[in-house]
Amino acid sequence: MREDLESGKDTSRRTGIRPLKVLTMHLLEVKGLTKRFGGLTAVKDVSFHIDEGETIGIIGPNGAGKTTLFNLLSGFLTPDSGTIILKGENIVGLAPHKIVNKGIARTFQVVRPFHHLPVIANVMVALKSPRGAKKIEWLKTMERKAADILEDVGISEVMLEPAENVGHGILKRLEMAKALATEPDLLMLDEPFGGLNPLETDFLTKSITRMHLDEPSRAILVVEHKLYALMKIVRRVIVLHQGEKIAEGKPEEIANNKLVIEVYMGKGIQHA
């Protein structure tokens, strides 16, 4: 499988052209990431990479370490060992807000809106951060930019409502708007479809796809339980099980991978 992924190397051998180092540099490179909580190893020696403009999904059963991996990448947890290299720079040990300003934005599995603020002000908080402020286009006010972002995710009608009064579906999209406001190079979505009905899921799938078309250089990393929705938006899937990476590949490959099916469905009777 690993050789499959590194097929770029094979072509270079065949054609005799060595790719430039700069071009092969990944947007994010994770090497040997490990995190222990007491006796439990939540994430164990996980390595992967993300290129510019890729859409990647992370799946795995409950307790596989997906959210821990997310927290490690976004700086809310510090790994025990391993490196996370973003555009050639090690970001291990940096504070969460610094990582956001370097270009990784995340959403939360459980929505975390600012209840006392109107919906538009929720987005303005992210625009007040150094990176968000830098990314505001010339001659554009912060309010205008926030309204545009809300328009993009499709919740501009409730712009002035206090966040405590709006529904869960809107809050889910507000989470995404907050993450998008800093214009990240890597957008990490933690269960974006959690608690949404099929209609909303469909809408969000479409809007993520459209978002990716609008900004092709932005990589998107999605953790999700709803495999059907996930498989439609990602190009590559990483499977975690008990903190370890057990498979990686295209969605079709993963769907037919024996080990993955075993982990998700349990072993068949004939194996027992």
């Binding site: 995340r106 908080v125 992210a126 951060s129 150094p130 990176r131």
Partner: protein
């Protein structure tokens, strides 16, 4: 034609004036306060209102830190004391006039809040409240410490009034106006800060610190900012307080003083600008007039006197009022009133809109 023009002009005027009730209310409130000395009430009552102005500055600064940023401080008397003592010491050793001592006291207050903010803001929630509680008690001991008596004095440092060159009556009136102007200025500044984009970030920290970090906000920096602004205005209040008492004494560092802004802000309404101001007036009138004058006078009619321990029981009365308020009206008196007013306005709007919607509905159905 003229009539219709006048009607339109009136309606636009009404829209401009009556659609901003907060500003109008502030204006009226200020007008009433400005007119108070003309009524010729006694110096004692003027003193109550002056101390209310100072306490309002103190409570407004506390509210910026606690009501808007969510950093619970139960040791705000620290800044009151630092402001007061620094202005008193500057007066004692250098004899500088007030327009120099006030900014200097504010500067020293903000420097101290940076120093104290760094260790304090490493902890959160109830632990922060405990840590902030400890600092004024430390300073209380330092001020009382025997080797430092030559500096801080046995009973405190005696300072003159701001307007010591005027006769007594004018002095009281001048103090009232002076503190009122400072209250107006500092509450406008704090209101502007709280409603700016930085104020939005403060509110986001109050709501969810982790989510605020995930938005790329340097939470520690913004907390420290709130701490410094709050400390600065609290030390302004301290400076005024000391010059009103004509004495800088160690009791300003006591825990009871730290609870005053808590009581005031909960009386008025937390997380607003008018809340602490209204609360401060209610508190001062309750404290000095109702419990300090009306009650003893009433008891005198029945040949009774208040025990001297009553001073300490006052805090008990106020804390029980706060407990009842928190349960009954958690948003405070002033905020409860404005909410009621908004409800009324909404009802009026619905009344106006109602028939029109009904008409449109009927038209639609006819076609």
């Amino acid at each position: 034609m003229v009539l219709s023009y006048l009607r339109r002009a009136h309606s636009s005027f009404a829209a401009h004036v009556f659609d901003i009730p907060p500003r109008l209310m502030v204006f009226l409130f200020l007008l009433i306060l400005l007119a108070v000395p003309i009524t010729g009430i006694s110096d004692y009552y003027m003193g109550i209102l002056t101390s209310a102005n100072v306490l309002a500055i103190f409570a407004v600064s506390w509210d910026l830190l606690v009501g808007r940023t969510g950093q619970i401080s139960l040791g705000h008397s620290l800044f009151l004391g630092i402001g007061g003592y620094s202005s008193a010491l500057i007066f004692k050793y250098y004899g500088l006039p007030i327009w120099i001592t006030i900014p200097l006291a504010m500067l020293i207050g903000s420097l101290f809040s940076v120093l104290i903010g760094f260790p304090c803001l490493r902890v959160k929630g109830p632990y922060l409240a405990l840590v902030t509680m400890a600092f004024p008690l430390i300073l209380y001991r330092i001020v009382k410490w025997a080797p430092l008596t030559p500096i801080f004095g046995r009973v405190g440092i005696i300072v003159p009034s701001f307007f010591h060159f005027l006769p007594i009556r004018q002095q009281v009136i001048a103090e009232f106006y002076f503190t009122l102007i400072l209250l107006f200025a500092s509450s406008v500044i704090i209101y502007k800060i709280a409603n700016s984009k930085t104020g939005i970030v403060f509110m986001s920290i109050l709501d969810d610190e982790v989510a605020s970090q995930a938005c790329g906000i340097n939470v520690t920096k913004h907390k420290l900012m709130a701490f410094v602004i709050s400390g600065m205005f609290a030390s302004l209040a301290g400076c005024l307080f000391v010059h009103l008492l004509r004495l800088a004494e160690s009791s300003v560092f006591l825990l009871t003083v730290s609870f005053i802004p808590v009581i005031i802000t909960f009386l008025g309404g937390i997380g607003t600008i008018y809340g602490p101001i209204v609360g401060a007036y209610i508190y001062s009138i309750l404290d000095k007039y109702v419990l300090g004058q009306m009650l003893p006078n009433l008891l005198e009619q029945w040949q009774m006197t208040l025990p001297t321990e009553f001073e300490y029981a006052k805090l008990l009365i106020f804390t029980s009022i706060v407990v009842i308020l928190v349960i009954k009206w958690p948003r405070g008196i002033a905020r409860y009133t404005t909410d009621r007013l908004e409800d009324l306005e909404e009802a009026r709007d619905l009344d106006e809109r109602g028939p029109r919607i009904w008409k449109r509905y009927k038209q639609k159905n006819r076609n």
